[in-house]
Each structure stands twice: as C-alpha cells, then as structure tokens.
Amino acid sequence: MNTTDIDTIIKKHLHRVAPEADLETLEPNEDLGRALDIDSMDFYNMMVAISEELKVDIPEEEYGKLRSLNRINQFLTESINK
C-alpha cells in the first residue's frame, strides 16, 4: 500500500464525517479541524474507522499530532511498513 492508496482511504473517511466538504481543495498540510470544521468527536470517529480498516493501532497520544492529511498519511505509512 503506497501513500496514494492511504490518501484515498483517509479521504474516504473524511468524506463520511464531512460529506459536504470539498476535499479536492484541501491542502495536504492544512489543519483538518479548521479547514473542514471537524470537531473532536468527528475526528475520533474517523480515526476509529481508519484504524479498523487498516488494522493499525493509533495511540491516543498521537492524536494531537495527526492534524493534517500529510501527518496522518505519514503516521499510517510508517505504522503499516513497520
């Protein structure tokens, strides 16, 4: 699984919590909460769904750092290839 696949999966779950958001214009380093008006519950639900799909454990202390597409992608790529 490469970073493009992972991006697609992240965007799929982003679309679930923020269906009306235009993910095409989302900058890879933008803060997701601010850009898409996602609150902590949305974010949590998204992380649960992603971790279930990719079978990756996302420790709670990482949540604070996983704020942009790039950060999440980087973390997931590293976890999968570990």
């Binding site: 923020a18 269906p19 009306e20 909460g33 601010r34 008006d37 609150d39 902590s40 519950m41 949590y44 639900n45 992380m47 649960v48 971790s51 279930e52 454990d57 996302i58 420790p59 709670e60 202390e61």
Partner: protein, 356 residues
C-alpha cells in the same frame, strides 16, 4: 412545553421525509437488482461460449465484463444504430432481443425510455432528500429561536465561573485508554457527563424544571448534551439516569448518540427528557461558554476548551490543563450559593476520576 412539542414535531417530520427518500432509494436498488437478474439471456450464451458454469451470484461481475465487449462483436441492425445515435444511447449497453442477441430498433427505444425513467426517478429521490433537509433545518432553527427567546425573556440567569484543573482526570483517562482498543476509548465528555450527574445527586436543586411558578426537582438525572450539527443548528439528546450508569455504559451510549444525532436518527424521548444540559465546546474555538438555559430546565453547565495555563500548585507555579466551567442558573429556582456548591463538588469529582 410548547417548545419541546415543536421540536418533536420537527424531528418527526424529518424522520418521515427521510423514510420516503430511503424507501425510494430502496425501490431503485431493487429495480436495478431485478434488471440484472432478469436479463440473463445473452449472458447465458456467453457462459456457454466460454465453456464455464457460473453461479447467479457472479452475474453482476459478468455484466461488467460484457460491457467491455468491443462494439463490432455485437450484432446491431442499421436502423437500431441510427436510432441509437438520434437518442444519444450508448449501444454497447443495450441488450438485444433478436437472434444471437442482435440489437433491434425496439431494444434501443426501450433502453432510452428506461434511461429517462431512471433519471427522473433519481432526480425525484434527490429532490425529496433536499426538501426534507431544508424543511428540517428551518423548523430546527425555529424551535431553537423559540426556546432561546423564551429563556431570555423568562429566566433570570446568574452565571458562576470556575477553573477546573484537569490534570488528574486527563492522566487517568490516558492510563485507562492504554488498555483499551481505539474504538473503546474513554473521551473527556464521558467523564464530564458522569461528574455532572454525580454532583447533582448532592445538589438536586439544579436538576429539574421550573413550571407553574415553582421548582420541581426531578428524581431521575437525565443529562442533556448539546451536539452541533454540520448543516447548522444543534440537538440536545440526553443520557438517561446518568448517575446510575457506569462510565462504560455512558461511553457506549454517548458515542452511539453522537453518531445518530449527526445522521438525524434520535428518538423523541432522548430529545425531550433532559433535566439539565451540558454544552461543551470541545478542543477548538472559545475557552469559555456562558450558556442560555433550555426551558423549563433550571441550569446549564458550560465547559470550554481545555488549555494549558500557569497555575499555583502547592506554592509553586506549574503548567496545568485547565477547563473553564461556567454554570448558568435560573435565579427563580436557585441562588448563587447553591450553584457555587455545585461547582465545588463538580471540581472535587473531577479530581478523583477513579471514583466516578
């Protein structure tokens, strides 16, 4: 009470319209499935050609393959081809009724007609969905407007504010969550709901309704939690008897409630039974919230964003995660003294999360 009724009505209307939309969707899917199931004639021949036996479950896959068959292999009558061009029909998608699957004019025309019908149906479903959302949004705005106007008109609010040191609570949560899988994590709101409920067992004066010029303390502690919706507005479903439930029970209910709130699938009982309301801003945005009480309730607890701040701890300055907590009380029902005691107990409860 009229407010709550209005809200119920709006929720019901929304549910009904959604059902209509969903029903239509289901019918459409059924129709599509039927299409696939009822048109196996040319496919059967294909199967025979390949000398393979396929089960009916594999048919959808087969259909896809069939669409890839290059045009020149499908027999099409010249008239059918011309009609297809006129009607803007992709001939490779048409199934022929003639010998060996030959496509005739009537096949093309039938296909075009079906296409128009499908499109109209799809548009109708889309419209029904849109109308239901707009209507629901409008009536939600109206019920919020009515409730908040009544509150400001009738309830003499008093506000009390305190800062709660969340270090113990957050550390305890982190400790708990290390043992839990991602989808079972305890989130701060769960702790806040439980802490408020437990505090109310000691200060029941804040739990209940102001009706007929008198305070009616409720026995059951049903903690409403304001959930903002992406399309605008908010709903306040309640965790019933939160003081009697374990953190785990509250967690399960809370996560489920938030999901259903966002999808618009809350039960009317959940929306109308809160005896007190919590509004929590979460991790983004403002640090404090001075709430407006939801009548006929008599109190609202507003939690801000947890921020790290320098605090005096044991005679030293330390950095602590601090949660601004503002209690809005109905001055007809209680006085500041009661509210102040409540905040004191709430603070105390959050210093001992393991006892919640």
């Amino acid at each position: 009470m009229a407010v709550i009724d209005g809200k119920k009505g709006a929720a019901k209307e929304e549910v009904e319209l959604k059902e209509v939309a969903e029903e239509k969707k289901e019918i459409m899917e059924e129709v599509k499935k039927k299409d696939v199931a009822e048109s196996p004639r040319p496919k059967k021949e294909k199967v025979k050609e390949n000398g393979e036996l396929k089960t009916s479950a594999e048919q959808p896959e087969l259909k896809e393959k069939e669409a890839e068959v290059p045009l020149h292999r499908v027999k099409v009558s010249p008239l059918a081809r011309r009609v297809a061009e006129d009607l803007n029909v992709d001939i490779s998608k048409v199934e022929g009724s003639g010998i060996g699957g030959t496509i005739h004019r009537k096949d093309v025309e039938a296909f075009a007609q079906q296409k128009v019908a499908d499109e109209t149906f799809e548009k109708e479903v889309e419209m029904a969905e849109k109308v239901s959302t707009i209507k629901a949004q409008k009536s939600m705005r109206q019920s919020i407007a009515a409730a908040m106007s009544q509150s400001n008109r009738e309830i003499p609010h008093y506000y009390l504010e305190t800062e709660i040191d969340m270090k113990a609570s957050l550390e305890w949560l982190e400790e708990q969550n290390k043992k839990r899988p991602v989808n079972e994590r305890l989130l701060p709101p769960v702790l806040l709901i439980k802490a408020v409920a437990n505090s109310l067992t000691e200060i029941p004066e804040l739990n209940g309704f102001w009706t007929d010029e008198a305070m009616h303390i409720e026995e059951g502690i049903h903690v409403g939690f304001a959930i903002s919706l992406r399309q605008g507005g908010l709903v306040i479903p309640a965790i019933l008897n939160a003081d009697l439930k374990s953190l785990e029970e509250i967690r399960t209910e809370f996560v489920d409630m938030v999901m259903r709130a966002r999808e618009g699938h809350l039960r009317s009982r959940e929306l109308s039974s809160a005896t007190i309301t919590i509004t929590s801003l979460g991790e983004r945005g403002a640090e404090k919230v001075y709430g407006v009480i939801y009548p006929p309730q008599v109190a609202l607890v507003g939690f801000g964003k947890i921020t790290e701040r320098p605090c005096a701890v044991d005679g030293l300055i330390g950095i602590r995660p601090v949660l601004s907590t503002v209690l809005a009380g109905d001055h007809r029902a209680t006085d500041g003294h009661t509210g102040s005691r409540f905040l004191e107990i709430l603070n105390e409860n959050l210093q001992h999360p393991d006892e919640l």
